[in-house]
């Protein structure tokens, strides 16, 4: 972790405690997850107990305390997606990558997450890879999409569990 980088982010927002969530968001945008050293450094700089920083980082869903894969596969499980087969999209992605939701492939290429609603309800079921949206998605198309992002059937089969649930 690069302390100067974190300091630069803090510098953009100031050290008021109310900026904590915003700072964590920016740090995550930089590293794709929240490294423990970064949390310690932020706690020190903002004069906030580490437990509070940790509390925030575990309470809000968008924060990850484990490194995530290069590609983030998010499957929407909002109500509209649910009734149009969202869970089957998730199962298919899990089966193809051989990991469960909130897990990362051993080669750190893919992380699969379910999200509660992406607000694309009219196009359900929806899957988002990185920032590319795929709407009205039948399960049979999932594999082809994942291949676009470099998945091959021989990709690593073991997985790393994310501790955060």
């Amino acid at each position: 972790m690069d302390e100067d980088k974190i300091d630069e982010i803090i510098g953009c927002h100031g050290t008021d405690k109310s900026e904590l969530i915003t700072i964590l968001q920016d740090v995550q945008a930089e590293y794709n997850w929240l490294p423990p050293d970064a949390l310690r450094h932020i706690a020190k700089r903002l004069h906030v107990p580490l437990i509070e920083v940790f509390g925030i980082a575990t309470f809000y869903k968008s924060f990850s305390l484990k490194p995530r894969g290069k590609h983030l596969v998010r499957v929407c499980l909002g109500t509209a997606c649910h009734v149009r087969g969202g869970p089957r999209i998730l199962e298919t992605a899990e089966r193809i990558l051989d990991i469960k939701a909130d897990e990362t492939t051993a080669d750190y290429e893919f992380t699969v997450e379910s999200v509660n609603c992406l607000g694309c309800c009219a196009l359900g079921p929806v899957m988002v890879v990185d920032n590319e949206y795929y709407g009205n998605l039948p399960p049979v198309k999932v594999e082809r999409i994942l291949r676009k992002y470099g998945h091959t059937s021989s990709s690593s089969s073991t997985s790393i569990k994310e501790e955060k649930s």
Partner: protein, 619 residues
């Protein structure tokens, strides 16, 4: 663009005239929806194709391309409208662009195949107001989206934007503004339906300075996206409402809390705030009135419960976004313990309309207890999915059939779910119920923020109850026992029922748990959490009984209770399912009827999707 400060009402009017004078109404304009929905369907590629094609044809200076907010008909995106003709093209693909440029922009002829086609009469609809989806709506808030590039404040000012603010600052006292909103009977659109004017009055009169105003765009209800469409499609309408509210309440600082799942809303709102500041519509001495007010954007970090007002304020303070007991309302002690008025996006967007057109006009729309229009996200098993804005009091049938075009594939309507995880499922017998705050509550559901998820015969109502319960198990902050533990126990019981191990007495136990949760949970999340369970028990008890007693899922959804098999009469032996099956559970040879080994089958349903001859059957 060089933006000079607007110092008075007449300055604004002058600016508007200047903007209009620069516009050539006969100039060809291509409006392309650049909302999240259309972008998901490839709108960016359509926009790029238009730019390239216009350049190729040397038309880049004579044709304007406007990237607009969401007009609502997401099902048929990407939406492209050609002005001044008003040709309304649906499902436009990048490949259609050269033909549109050639035929419509150059030869002024329509491309008929891109018009809406009525599925029954096959008639084409050329203009927006001929399309049944639009013609049965009353689009006061989202109707202008197709004309507005949300990244350009001038597009909002041109048709009269910020004139309500100018009127308020030059002609009305704060008390008069509150009185107007009170007499308009504007009720909060976020779910609670609390009278906005009364809340404003309480905040204004509460002791303590400074006072704060907040826009709640933490639209967490799954299946609802009207706030996203407003915030990203016409952010100035919300900002104008907010400034008016701040003036009435006496606040000089405001926040717009946007959930992080809506990056485009964050981007467009940030740009809108900057541009409003450039014109002096935010900041010090707004329009020369002496009134100071500014606003900041805050990105949520993904917690459903943080949409609750006290939780949202904790989140703004940089804390865990968990609700607090409301012995004292947030309008008296809210953000940093100061009087704070929080309203939902749609509520704020209604304010400029009320000021411009008056409380009497607003009262002329809607029902006795619910005035004005409401935007719903009409989604799920319905033909025309998208955002619909309708007057309060319209029936569910009108929304689902006249606007939504009914249920796809000739399936049977089963229920409509309103109010998100706090609402309930309304069965067919109540489909003629007028939609307003009070009527839906009477049915055990609620209007909520406006999600309307249509369900057909293939939706299992026990699975739906389990879905919402599991959603809330995940999202409960865990602070109070009835919600935290009650939801867990409910989820266990519902999981048992869906897995075929439900037993007699389970339904009664769910009902008993529900009563305790309703009576004793700390915030609305826990108090309303049993609604999806209670309404499905009330209206679809036979489905629960089928799961518990017969171990059957009538809708063929619950995996433990279904089985796939291949119908020998229909199977042509084409090998498609055999190749697709990830478990190797299907055996057979070319042109020989295939068989499915149920022991190997994981019930993933891929064979069912793959078979072109309807030979894979679920029983």
């Amino acid at each position: 663009m060089n933006r000079r400060r607007i110092k008075s009402h007449s300055d604004l009017e002058k600016l508007r005239q200047e903007i209009l004078a620069k516009r050539d109404l006969q100039k060809t304009r291509v409006a392309i929806c650049a909302g999240t929905g259309c972008l998901a369907l490839g709108a960016q590629k359509v926009i790029t194709s238009f730019k390239e094609e216009l350049k190729k044809q040397g038309l880049e200076n004579t044709v304007e391309i406007r990237e607009t907010g969401c007009p609502g008909f997401c099902e048929k995106g990407t939406i492209v409208v050609i002005y001044p003709e008003g040709f309304y093209y649906l499902q436009v693909q990048p490949g259609d662009v050269p033909e549109i440029v050639e035929k419509t922009l150059i030869e002024k002829e329509p491309v008929e195949r891109l018009f809406y086609t009525d599925p029954i009469t096959n008639e084409k609809a050329i203009y927006e107001d001929e399309i049944p989806f639009y013609k049965n709506q009353m689009r006061l808030l989202i109707g202008d989206n197709i004309n507005i590039d949300p990244k350009k404040i001038e597009d909002y000012i041109a048709p009269g934007g910020y004139s309500a603010l100018a009127k308020v600052l030059s002609e009305m006292s704060p008390e008069e503004v509150i009185e107007e909103v009170k007499s308009a009977n504007l009720r909060g659109r976020g779910g609670g339906g609390f009278p906005a004017g009364r809340k404003w009055g309480t905040t204004r009169n509460a002791p303590g300075e400074p006072k704060y105003v907040i826009v709640n765009c933490d639209e967490g209800d799954p299946g609802a996206f009207m706030d996203r469409a407003l915030m990203e499609g016409n952010p100035h309408s919300v900002i104008e409402g907010l400034i008016i509210g701040a003036y009435a309440i006496g606040a000089c600082e405001g926040y717009i809390y946007v959930r992080e799942e809506y990056p485009l809303a964050v981007e467009n709102t940030s740009i809108a705030i900057e541009q409003a500041r450039d014109y002096g519509l935010l900041g010090r001495d707004i329009m020369g009135s002496g009134f100071d007010f500014d606003v900041k954007i805050f990105r949520g970090a993904g917690a459903f419960v943080s949409g609750e007002s006290s939780a949202l304020m904790s989140s703004l303070e940089g804390k865990v976004g968990a609700p607090k007991p409301k012995y004292i309302h947030t309008s008296v002690k809210g953000l940093w313990n100061k009087p704070t008025n929080l309203n939902n996006v749609e509520t704020w967007a209604n304010v400029p309309l009320i000021i411009n057109k008056g409380a009497d006009w607003f009262n002329s729309i809607g029902t006795e207890g619910s005035k004005g229009t409401k935007i719903f996200s009409l989604v799920g098993k319905v033909n025309n999915t998208g955002l619909v804005e309708v007057p309060m009091g319209i029936t569910l049938r009108e929304i689902i059939y006249n606007i939504g075009g009914g249920i796809p594939s000739n399936k049977k309507f089963k229920a409509v779910q309103t109010g998100g995880p706090s609402g309930g499922c309304i069965p067919e017998s109540f489909i003629d119920t007028p939609v307003d705050f009070d009527e839906l509550t009477k049915l055990g559901s609620m209007m909520g923020s406006g999600g309307m998820i249509v369900m057909d015969e293939d939706t299992c109502m026990v699975d739906v109850a389990k879905y919402f319960t599991d959603f809330l198990v995940d999202e409960s902050c865990g602070k109070c026992v009835p919600c935290r533990e009650g939801l867990e126990r409910m989820s266990e019981i519902l999981t048992d029922i869906c897995e075929g191990v439900g037993k007699e007495g389970d339904i009664e136990l769910l009902e008993e748990l529900s009563v305790v949760m309703k009576d004793t949970s700390m915030c609305a999340l826990g108090r309303t959490a049993p609604n999806p369970v209670l309404t499905t028990i009330q209206y679809f008890r036979d489905e629960y009984d089928a799961h518990i007693e017969e171990k059957k899922c009538p809708a063929h959804v619950c995996k433990a209770l279904i089985e796939y098999y291949i119908d020998g009469e229909k199977c042509t032996g084409c090998l498609a399912c055999l190749k697709a099956c990830p478990e190797g559970a299907i055996s057979g040879e070319k042109e020989v009827v295939h068989t499915l080994n149920t022991e190997k089958c994981s019930k993933c349903g891929i064979c069912y999707d793959t078979c072109k001859f309807d030979a894979v059957i679920i029983r």
